[in-house]
Symmetry: D2
Subunit: 352 residues, 4 copies
Amino acid sequence: MAAKVKVGILGASGYTGAELVRLLLRHPRVEIVCLTADRRAGQTMGAVFPQFAPYELPTLISIDDIDWKNSGLDLVFCALPHATTQKVIKDLLSKAPQIRIVDLSADFRLSDTSAYARWYGHEHHAPELQPEAVYGLAEIYPREIKAARLVANPGCYTTCAQLPLIPLLKARAIDPEEIVIDAKSGMTGAGRSAREEMLFSEVSEGFHAYGVGKHRHMAELDQEFSKAADKEVVVSFTPHLLPMNRGILSTIYVRGRRGRTPEGLHAILLKFYEKKQFVHVLPFGQTPQTRHVRGSNMTFIGVAADRIPGRAIIISALDNLTKGASGQAIQNMNLMLGFPEAMGIDQAALFP
Amino acid sequence: MAAKVKVGILGASGYTGAELVRLLLRHPRVEIVCLTADRRAGQTMGAVFPQFAPYELPTLISIDDIDWKNSGLDLVFCALPHATTQKVIKDLLSKAPQIRIVDLSADFRLSDTSAYARWYGHEHHAPELQPEAVYGLAEIYPREIKAARLVANPGCYTTCAQLPLIPLLKARAIDPEEIVIDAKSGMTGAGRSAREEMLFSEVSEGFHAYGVGKHRHMAELDQEFSKAADKEVVVSFTPHLLPMNRGILSTIYVRGRRGRTPEGLHAILLKFYEKKQFVHVLPFGQTPQTRHVRGSNMTFIGVAADRIPGRAIIISALDNLTKGASGQAIQNMNLMLGFPEAMGIDQAALFP
Amino acid sequence: MAAKVKVGILGASGYTGAELVRLLLRHPRVEIVCLTADRRAGQTMGAVFPQFAPYELPTLISIDDIDWKNSGLDLVFCALPHATTQKVIKDLLSKAPQIRIVDLSADFRLSDTSAYARWYGHEHHAPELQPEAVYGLAEIYPREIKAARLVANPGCYTTCAQLPLIPLLKARAIDPEEIVIDAKSGMTGAGRSAREEMLFSEVSEGFHAYGVGKHRHMAELDQEFSKAADKEVVVSFTPHLLPMNRGILSTIYVRGRRGRTPEGLHAILLKFYEKKQFVHVLPFGQTPQTRHVRGSNMTFIGVAADRIPGRAIIISALDNLTKGASGQAIQNMNLMLGFPEAMGIDQAALFP
Amino acid sequence: MAAKVKVGILGASGYTGAELVRLLLRHPRVEIVCLTADRRAGQTMGAVFPQFAPYELPTLISIDDIDWKNSGLDLVFCALPHATTQKVIKDLLSKAPQIRIVDLSADFRLSDTSAYARWYGHEHHAPELQPEAVYGLAEIYPREIKAARLVANPGCYTTCAQLPLIPLLKARAIDPEEIVIDAKSGMTGAGRSAREEMLFSEVSEGFHAYGVGKHRHMAELDQEFSKAADKEVVVSFTPHLLPMNRGILSTIYVRGRRGRTPEGLHAILLKFYEKKQFVHVLPFGQTPQTRHVRGSNMTFIGVAADRIPGRAIIISALDNLTKGASGQAIQNMNLMLGFPEAMGIDQAALFP
């Protein structure tokens, strides 16, 4: 049996941390040697997430207690809150520059540090590292990811919107001025912090939009869509919260350019993802459901004709904690470390 | 105390039937004298909906068992499936032309009987009655409803989309060519028929679109939007199903015309609904949640600026069984019979 | 129209506060003149519970800002957290002894102040008021409630268990040594405080027991069951949390005494509640569902035979926020002020 | 790599069928060569369960189309409805006696064919096969299962109740006359048939008991408990339905015998399951939650002291589709075929 790499998870007490543990426990080439959770340091992982009580896992420690230089770590997943990660990674890499990093926060996703400052309200704390950070959308940048030391794992909403739109923008197949993305996410996307509006009794049996006109994921969308289209693209994007745990569905309204029909858009996507294991393009006219990707690393994409000539409705679905976060982070690790891309993340979806 | 009118409910074993009973039990001017449910004839209402077991209500009968002429009925609510109602009402009115009718099905909503045939796949069975049918959107057609014998209660999706859009189209304030309506509904909108895809285990913890590009409610939208804009309007409309029981939320993307700002659109709605008890326009920038209208006859409407200049995002929320069906039906009855518009339907929402 | 009484609600930003407002808005003899919420003082009720935005209600204030003496209040509902109410009521009554009080907390439910200290971990802060406090189980103590100045509204779990068991214990019809109460509650019973274990993502799609062997509601059960049986009664009681908002269902295992059959137990309950509007005893062998009492003040009780001879299974269901809290509080107010018992709380349940 | 065995799944369009496919797709020693679903014959598995669309799987066929003799099958999972399986297996084994069978229905669980006839209302159709059928509770009968050709996989409720109770009954540690099992199950336990009472709108936001005093799983409980106690045992058992998909939690009330304390009962279970990978006994006083075993083959068991001296409350939790059905079926297959017991079913639970 091949040797195992030693990985650490910073921020193991949150949902993306738990999802990393769930998946890595079954990864044949990985050993989890370090789990951090500052407020829960000293506790077992089973105390924080009882589903892991039967497994042998390292006790939670504080980040400050890690001696990076002598840690023996090969790769670290950062599942820390936004705006706390830049400093941690800067410190880590200054002491142990050989460690590979997959960062699940937004801290290294924007290549333009001034855009970062504008959207996140504070200066970037590690601008010198930003140039080497690779945007980790695995289906779009596999070559860059393989060579990267620091990968910025994309956001969940942005992964769900980019996978269908980037191939179409690259092909100049849709009008970049008229894209509407109506996105709906399960509650785990909001994290595990104890806030009144996230209580069960507040969320159950109801639905609403939030961040209307001003959600931070727009910055990532702007960056990647503009890059794909080779011109500035600004989309309408509205996120909503669903009374369920896992899943994002994006309903995307586009207009074909230069005579592209909805069928033509479908053909582009089908071809683009022909060899990609984690993107499944449905037959034309069929549309996906979030439940059928739950717990899996799959993205399902459907294309249908709008009744307005020339317009199409594209719908994509993924699990925000898996392909939208921790699954894709492991996919990136697999690419970085030369493992088969699907290793450890090839579980079928859990439905019902 | 004023005398009570005698009403009947045809199709009392479905969800809109139950919602009518729930509300009418507290209506001070109404006596329920007749409840029909063909497949459950002979049973008590409490057997079909146990919440009504403590109340005295007529036993369920078959429609065929009603002697319309001698029934003493003043008004009938039809909560029958689409495509079965035209014949029933035709027969009813031929025998008892003085009975008022509020029809909750789609059978009399389209004034153009050829449009009806096209969307519903069969000829209209009572074309001679169609001209007198009034489209029962209570905030838009109060005068016509007061004078009507036969009111076609609007659909739930259409009520939710029309209340925010009709005033804007009438005012020529938005571009009628660029309207996208992304609508999400709770499961009760799909009715009570036992179908696999409506099982709890199929619906829970998931989300999906359906009828993409071809939902029947489009016919109603076309008719009313075109009337309001005085030109043909065709919108993009995508319905989705939410893992919850009650509530519709429509996220509507529009472009202001002739320099109308999002604030300007908001001002139009605020003024239009100033005196309307059942439409509440939120302060500019705030957006509604379905949970805050659950079980009430209210529609909440919010307007926010999109980040694309000139574009606005309008969100409306209502309870599909109340304002989207049975509550509005009673509102129509109140108008038809000269009762205060809010009588019996002024309950505050049930949240949490 | 008869004059209205002036009521205040202390603790209006919690769920029982909201439920009081929902119901009192439709009570024909009540005017809400005062709403308090210390942390939200200065805000509108619509800011705290958006469903009330369309209604005219007093702005939230701090309790300390009330001049009890000159408040003009006739009756006050206390919906404050446990252990904070004794001091508030003591102060209130010292300044305005004519005000009637319905307290929804546990602070005055235990007539034995030493039992209170034992279960709640601190001395009773108003022992001199305890003797006049009446335990407000409306179906059992109507006479005492009518004469009371201070009513201690029962807990939700305890109401649900006491309504079926007290008549049987009074009749010496069941063995008091062998009662098992397995209780399940919706999440609103846990209140509105922002705690990790109450987040949607923690609660959804799961089920668990809590407080096993040591829940505080046991103190109330002990007191009332012992009183009914005229001997010390200690029951097995296990509460659980359901992934839903409203509703409690108690499954109760009992053994008939002196040859009492399950049918005999059913007959006792049927007779006891014959004239009680808010308790509905189902036909023998049928059992209730929480959904059929949602939002109503009803309790549904069913009795079935266990397959073990002599044993019966009794199931009771109510809405924890209505009959289990605010609805019963208004029922108590109605009794105290001489209004019809069901005034303002006679809504039918909201299902589906 | 070791050779793969060829397995078939009869009844692949139901939930336990889908769960078998989900797990077997990752089993390194299994190849799925045959899937049946009579009403869906000719369709792909992806049409019936879209989550499997990306995988290569055999097209669904009718059972009648299988030539058992030449099928090359090593083992068959029967996930057919109760009462249809006896004939199918009889026919199968008459033609291909070497095929191993794990039957997930109730058809071979009762060793007493007259008990079967009494509980299921018809004669056993394969009484000659019953004697060789082994009751497949893997932790209790591993030796028998290894040698079996035909294994009757236990029911979900019964697995959940038997795992904690059988060791205690065997040790004569609890009073067999006073066992109360209050069981709660997610909706997938009710299967995929389209029935009104299983619709989302009927189930959501509510809770109820069913089959009170007369559920068929009692027959299995009687058989196995009596065997363990070596005397006739009849328990109180009440099943309930939870508004969630997966998970069973049993709250069990017992009395220790001959001075056994709750701690003593806990010690027995801890020791009994010390080496069992799929049963995790929590520290004394802690109790499990269904969400922490979701999608895994684990059973979590907790023991707490009741406040009534000598009485304990035992709570067990498992996923009804995994350890309660398909996971245990694969565990049985692993035992029968000499594979490691946990092969293919060692996924960690999916939470949140």
